[in-house]
Structures are given as structure tokens and as C-alpha cells.
Symmetry: C2
Subunit: 344 residues, 2 copies
Amino acid sequence: MTNTELSSFLGHWLPRLEGEMRELLASHEPAVAAHYAMMQYHMGWLDEHFRPHQAMAGKRLRPILCLLGCAEVGGDPVQALPAAAGIEILHNFSLIHDDIEDGDDTRRGRPTLWALWGMPQAINVGDGMFALAFAALQRSSRRGVAAEQTLAALDIFTQTCLALTEGQHLDIGFEQRTDVTVDEYLRMIQGKTAALVGGSIAIGALIGGAPREQAAGLQRFGHAVGLAFQIQDDILGIWGDPEVTGKPAGNDILRRKKSLPILYALRHAQTGADFAAVLAGKAERSQLRAALELIEQSGARTFAEREAQRQHENAITALKAALGERAGGSALLALAESLLNRQA
Amino acid sequence: MTNTELSSFLGHWLPRLEGEMRELLASHEPAVAAHYAMMQYHMGWLDEHFRPHQAMAGKRLRPILCLLGCAEVGGDPVQALPAAAGIEILHNFSLIHDDIEDGDDTRRGRPTLWALWGMPQAINVGDGMFALAFAALQRSSRRGVAAEQTLAALDIFTQTCLALTEGQHLDIGFEQRTDVTVDEYLRMIQGKTAALVGGSIAIGALIGGAPREQAAGLQRFGHAVGLAFQIQDDILGIWGDPEVTGKPAGNDILRRKKSLPILYALRHAQTGADFAAVLAGKAERSQLRAALELIEQSGARTFAEREAQRQHENAITALKAALGERAGGSALLALAESLLNRQA
């Protein structure tokens, strides 16, 4: 697939994906309409008075990977649409609960669900979307996917859900610790980010008719892409261009986020103690400059860039093993490259 | 099934059900062991220091109904064990989130998850159990259940999950209202209680090989049993014998719980305003006496008892339609009778 072909693929399938999701999250009974309207608010389709709205949507990265996974093994993406919708709904369920757990009151520039309608309703809306994510996957058979294939896809989906909660378990625990290691961090993002990216591609491939072994290979590819993606995110969170990211320089340092470069610098034998002392102070401009100097000295940036590159290479190796010669011209490869080279 | 046969059925299957659930909630990796240990604490298998423990367990009503649903249509309950385990795990997930949403800090005499480990971890532990409930149902194929049957059972399960969140949506909304009607209340318990009871039996029946129509009939039976069960609970919440229930007389009045008799009395043309005025005051012994007199005068007790009886009759009609002549000797009937006549 060339970049033009990828654009035309997305132009064709993204509106259908939105349609599938809107159908799934529609309400059917006035008594509980607000339950579904809150889901639709979160998706950006309604405003806080439940009037039609068009807010900035997410990247839809995971469902796109699901549809591409299906297409790359020769399947018809229309059969993967319900699963792709379920994957994006699952991702959004996890965002709703994350926002409650982290106490974040805005997301993509809008108030979060709990900030508008309270914590109890927000937890429950997330639970409803969790159930609808499964309902979406179970629709696959309506598109002619065999029952055994649907169950195989559901198996991966459920394992992915569980991995998400494992990653979140670690992430919540990190909040109260000052001794988190780089390895612990990598284990956390395996669960919180990489599992769903890998699962998305594998589910698409299984629905597209891939043998289990090939689907597992594509899952390894997605897993590595997910890790590279998150580490790249961590790099941009400190050294990203504010003009491009829309966030202040050194944003993750200001927010004291336990990202990979920061954890690396904190554990550094020479500069770690100084860096920790700077972070323990108030988040001021002058201290940001000192923190940026120390993190640079620690070699955290080089470490993170190498780690992202290493995961990217793992991804390519896995893709070649799964697709053989076709890997070179694959849209999955093009997408992985663009994720690694993005600036925001 | 006679009562003796039912006892022997439970004696045989309940330990196997516990074994199935313990296997599902076991942890496999030290890094995330605490995530699973919190689930095991909630189930009563560990104490708060994660040492082995034997706390009072729940009634296991729903999984028993699933196993009986399977047996009643001639299936082998061993095939329904994974689904029964999934149903009980789902029920417990909903209790964990309910406790957070209601701010309840004890359950069955022990601190709730959020009270011990904080709201963020407790939400996430609930999410993990939600995923494991699906993992449980998907295990059915390992016990030789056909893929199509497993998917049919999963369809009902997912719809049941969604109904749970709809019921909870209404229940949370009731907290902030003083004008909740009896009909609205009945709609709420349809989602929060009846759907899972009905779903449990239908899932067991489908796995036992019942045709869809028979499973739907048994689901209607369970739905009516669930409603009768909840209304009976509401009656016991006010007029239950403290010696038997272990709770103070008039407990639901003291707690200002929006239960069926209380809502009925609040909407009563003659005594409603007086009753509301008494409830608006402080929860004191003398006011409890006044409240009990007013609720009695309103006819709320008779109304609730008739409503429970009516649902019980609906249940029996549905059971006869689904099982024909065998309904009379069915363990499902015996269980429904014992639920309606219970004192705690």
C-alpha cells in the first residue's frame, strides 16, 4: 500500500467506522437515554447539553490498525468493522475510567465525564461502554465471520482488556512511589499501551482469515509498535516543539510525570540525586531549565531514542516474519514509520 | 428435583464453582499479583494483608440458577461451570463499583475495596473482574460447548451487563430526586436485579442445549423471580425480623432507602406528605415509630406483598410454558418458592 492508497483506505473506512460506533452507542429507550448520551458526549458527538456537536476526535489509531490487519492478510475490512468499533469503544472506556482515577477534569479541551456528571455516573458510563465493546465484537458473526473466528478474536480482546487493567494497576501504584525502575515502567506500558495496539492488529488479522500463528506474529509487531509509540510520546512530552505539540516545552517535567526519560534520569548514578532535588521543588521556569540540563546530562534522551528505535526494529522483524516479502510494501510498515517520526 | 436432591446438587457443584472462580482470579505474575489479590480479598478468600481467609461468602444465587438452568433442560452442569463462574464474577464486579458509587465502606462486615486501597485501584480491580467474567464465559468451549452456543450465551451475557449499567444509571439518578415513581423504581430493578437473574438461567439453559425459544422462556421466569426477590428484599428491609435479618427493625427507613414500599408511601394521596415530613427529620427512634405507622396506613406493605406475589405468579406461568409438565417438580420452582418465603 502506498501512502496515497493508505489515505484512500482511511477515507473509505473511517466514516464507516464512525457509523458503526454511532449505531452501537445509540440509545433505544427514553428512560435511560442520558446513560448513552454521556457516552456520545465522551465520543465528541454531543455537547454537554446533549445537543449535536463535533468535537476533536481521537486519532482512531487502534481501529485503523485492526482494519489494516484484516486487509493485509487478504480479508475484507467490512468484516472487521464491528471489531474495530469495539476496540475504539474499549479504548474510550479506559480513558473515562483513567480520567476518574487520575482526577483529570479535562480531555481534548473539554470537561471530562466525572467533572460534568459526577464520579458515580462516570464510572457507570465507562462500565456501559465496556459492555458495548464486547457487544461490538460479538456482532462480527452478522458480517459472516465464522463463530470459531469470532471466539478467537474475543479471546485476544479479553486478554487485552485484562492487560489494560494490569498496566493501570501498576500506573496507579507508581503515583505513590519514588523508586520506580525503567523495567517496571516498560512493564506498565506493555499493559497500558502495547497490549491493545498488538491486540487490535491480531484481531483484525484473525477476522481476515489469518492462521493463528500469523496473527500472533502481527500481534508481536503491534506490541513493539505500541512500545515505540509510547516511548516516542514520552520523548515529545519533554523535547517536543511547543508549536507542534500545542503543549509547553518540558511539559512532562512540569507535570512531574513518571515517563521513561524522567525515570531514567532519576536513577542515574551521577545526576539522579540533583535531578530529584530539582523535581521536588516548585515547578518554576528557572527550575525547568535546570531540570532540562540535568536530564540531558544523564543521557536520558539518547537512552529513550535508542529504546524507541530498538522497539521499532523489533516491530519490523516481527512484520517480516509474519508477512514475508510483502512486509516491505505494507501499510502497517508505513504507519509504524510515521508514528516513530511524528512530531506531535 | 426434591429438596434433598437440590441439597445434594448444591453439595456437589458449589465447591466446583468455587474452584473454577479461584482458577480464574488466580495471579500468574508477581509484578501484578496485588491486582488479583484485591479481587480475592473481595471474594472473601484473602484478608486485607492478603493472607488466606474464609469470610462469609455471598449466596451464589445467580451461578446456582445457571447450573440449574443447564440441568433442567437435560444438559451436563460441568459444561455450565465456566459460565456460572463468569456470572458470579460479574455480579461481584458490580458490587465493587456499586460500593464506590454509593460510598459504602463496608460489605458483609468487612471494609470495601475502595476503603482499603483507594478509589482508583478499586475501580480498576472492578474492571479487571469485568474482563475476567468474559474470559470465564469464553472458556465454555474448553468444556465442549459448541462455538455457536458459546456466542449465543455471550450475547445474553453482554445484554445483561448493559442492563445492569442501565439499572445503575437510574439508581444513581434517584439519589438526587424526591419524585421517583413506583414504575420508575420497577424499571430500575429490572436492570439492576432481574436482568442478571434471568440471564443466568437462560445462559445455563443455552449451554445445556435448550432451543433459543425455551431459553427465552426460562429467562422470563428468571426475570420475574428476580423482581419478586428484590421486592421481597424491600419488604424485609422494613418489616424483617431483626433476630433473623441481623439488621435493625425499619432499617431501610432509617437509611432513607428508596425502596418500593417507601416510594409507594411517599406518593400516597393521604399520608404521603406526612410520611415525607417524617423522613425529612432526623433518623430517631420516635420518628421511626411514626414512619412505620404512616407506611402501614398507606397500604404500602400490602401493595408490595401483592406485587411480589404477582411476579411470583408470572414466574410460574413462564416456567410452565418453558418446561411443560416438568415445571411442577423442577428445582427452579422450589428455589423460587424458597426465595419468596425467606425471612432474611
